[in-house]
Amino acid sequence: MTKLDQFQSVFLAADKTALRYEKIGVEHVLVVSDRDGDAAGELLNRMRAFLSVIDDEETRWARLDGGGFSSVKQLLDTVDEQAPDLIVTYRHLHSSAWQWPHSLGEYLDVLTQATRVPVVVLPHPDAARALPHTLEHTERVMAITDHLSGDDRLVNYALGFTQPGGSCWFTHVESLAAFDHYLDVISKIPEIDTESARELIERQLLKGPRDYIESCRRQIAEQHLPFEIGEIVTMGRRLGEYRKLIAEHRVDLLVINTMDDDQLAMHGLAYPLAVELRQIPLLML
């Protein structure tokens, strides 16, 4: 390694991404369900209580009931027309496939990709899968990603959905499988010391998100925001690790990214999470 590379690395490492805090604005919420009448009204009321953190006098709540759409196109057209800031719905609309936890259902699948509007995905009302503490409030919110540094949108949404006095966890789980794969390659390159590479790469991989969370803490202190910040930065088999963390921390709302600029399908990690984590509400960005 040349001295030029050495110093460039030092300065690049010192150039830390800091949170740019912005209060999220949710003025119009659209609750989409396959229920009608009282059942749909009840769902809306329950959601207003659950998401009271974003509900104020100016927030407009609207319903798109089961009778209001019968195709994906109709749903997307309505969303376009109403231009909500947030959609609240659940998996397998107009379908009984909720009984088999292997997909999101055609409506939600397209909705999360065809629009930039954040979607709160609830446990299916008929499935009785929701954990006992969920759907009451959002005191314990967890943002999870495999690339936390610089993801201001994810962090701002997580903070925006955390009730004052509540806890907001920023979770970054680096894929151990990918790490092991690269180290396996490195172990076959004589010019690179494998043990040093393991130690240095792991340290740097985890340092970035930790530094970013530190900047979040500073911002929150400067803005006098009433949140407690939790930090989980680790390496692991991601889905299993997330399941464990959610159970351990009794999370009320999980915040994840779904959009991937490089592809039309959902972000690599988001789809399995959205399919498998059915016991708690998800906020899919």
Binding site: L4, F11, A14, A18, S215
Partner: protein
């Protein structure tokens, strides 16, 4: 053969002179030959020693040191090397390398970046001054690497990558200005200063006013030529300040104790090196090489378990280059080549106290612009030393200024400008050899004219 075993015929002198020219040409073509300069000069040193021995030019019989009753026979190439200069370079480079491990220099660089609040003009001023200060304390190449790599990162962060070429060019040119500040700031200073008997303090006091003025002028001209201006508007200013505020000056500091220790030792090093100039003191007798090596050893104690890593980082190519170069020059002296060059320089010395040093300065600069300034400085130091010039003779200063500033005329004129061009190319910017000369020549010409005036009328 004559009766004098070491008499030298004209043909032999010319033959060795041709060898010297060949070596200088090979050094100028170092990149094309894909050979390190230590190897190039070592090959010539081996050939010179062998030829010198075969032709009876070398005084083997005089290579005996008598200590009491003991006679120690020395290999001919040992006294040929100026070990004082080697000790200064080895000691100070080790010391600086260990000190930089403490994170001190990167801390200074990042604090200055944040203090600038991301304003391009203020950044240019701060980086320019920092380049000069680092070049004075570190070697020019390390200074350019630190400031250049930070420049690339910070301008990228600020989204003004289009100004990178201007910044790096100005910094590259300032490394050679900063290299003039102290006796240990550059290798030609060490070689010529030692030969002339110029003390550290005298060197600093005499060179400092020029360095300060020319730094200011170079930055001013750089800002104008490369259109580097202050930000307009509060919004742009606050956004730039926000972007550079993300830099964490403490990130590279592994241990606060080592950082503080490094800072204190750096200050102590400069003071002690200066104190070694005071005549009739123990330090003066031991020499600056001793001071540099002692400080390196003290710093190594901090990293005693990994000291070998610092030995690996020493620029052995540079040290081997010196060793071999001194051997070549020693043989050239025995072969009367230096006397021949001295006679060739006689017309310059006869030009008088004004035109003579000025001609020496400009010709040294031109020679340094196309080949390594170290052989030039070493040869001229030896030749001028043989003329018994006084320490305050303008000829010494003409060589010092010319050898340092000549590196600013072409990208191959000095290692630090070469580093600047390397960083420029690394970031995908186009700059050819001719492009560099076109951009740098106005700066170099101005610096040389000011240097000539300074040497002739101020010093």
């Amino acid at each position: 053969m004559t009766d004098d075993p070491h008499s030298v015929s004209g043909a032999v002198t010319v033959g060795f002179a041709l060898l010297l020219v060949a070596m200088i040409l090979c050094l100028a073509l170092e990149e094309k030959l894909h050979a390190k300069k230590s190897v190039i000069v070592a090959v010539f040193a081996v050939a010179c020693l062998l030829l010198g021995g075969l032709l009876h030019l070398l005084p083997f019989e005089e290579m005996v040191v008598v200590v009491g009753e003991e006679r120690i026979e020395l290999p001919i190439y040992i006294p040929a090397i100026n070990w004082g200069v080697v000790a200064i370079i080895l000691g100070s480079s080790l010391f600086v390398d260990i000190t930089s491990k403490s994170g001190l220099f990167t801390w200074i660089a990042i604090v200055l970046t944040k203090t600038s609040r991301g304003d391009p003009l203020r950044l240019l001023i701060f980086y320019g001054v920092m380049t000069v200060a680092f070049s004075a304390v570190l070697n020019n190449v390390t200074a350019m690497i630190i400031v250049g790599s930070l420049t690339a990162v910070s301008l990228g962060r600020l989204g003004i990558g289009d100004k990178l070429l201007g910044f790096l060019l100005v910094e590259g040119l300032l490394t050679n200005v900063g290299g003039l500040l102290t006796l240990i700031s550059s290798v030609p200073n060490i070689i010529v200063g030692n030969a002339a008997g110029i003390t550290f303090m005298t060197f600093f006091v005499k060179a400092m006013p020029y360095v300060v003025v020319v730094t200011g002028i170079t930055i001013w001209l750089g800002a104008r030529v490369f259109k580097i201006r202050s930000l307009a508007g509060d919004e742009a200013r606050s956004e730039a300040a926000r972007l550079v505020s993300g830099f964490d000056e403490n990130d590279g500091i592994e241990s606060r104790f080592k950082f503080n220790f490094g800072a204190v030792m750096l200050g102590a090093f400069i003071v002690t090196i200066a104190a070694a100039s005071i005549p009739d003191t123990v330090l003066n007798s031991l020499g600056m090489g001793y001071v540099a090596l002692s400080f390196a050893v003290i710093m190594l104690v901090q990293y005693k378990s990994i000291a070998d890593r610092f030995y690996q980082a020493v620029d052995w190519d540079l040290l081997a280059f010196f060793g071999a170069l001194f051997v070549v020059i020693n043989v050239m002296e025995h072969a009367q080549v230096l006397a021949l060059i001295g006679r060739g320089l006689a017309p310059i010395l006869e030009l008088g106290e004004t035109v003579g040093p000025a001609t020496m300065l400009f010709s040294s600069a031109v020679a340094s612009s196309v080949t390594d300034n170290i052989p030039l400085a070493a040869m001229l130091a030896q030749i001028l030393g043989n003329l018994d010039l006084a320490a305050d003779s303008p000829y010494w200063w003409a060589v010092i200024f010319g050898a340092n500033l000549g590196g600013n005329i072409t990208p191959i004129g000095s290692a630090s400008t070469l580093v600047a061009v390397t960083i420029i190319h690394k970031h995908g910017l186009e700059l050819s050899f001719a492009g560099f000369v076109r951009a740098a020549l106005p700066f170099a010409a101005l610096q040389l004219v000011l240097a000539a005036g300074y040497v002739l009328w101020v010093l």
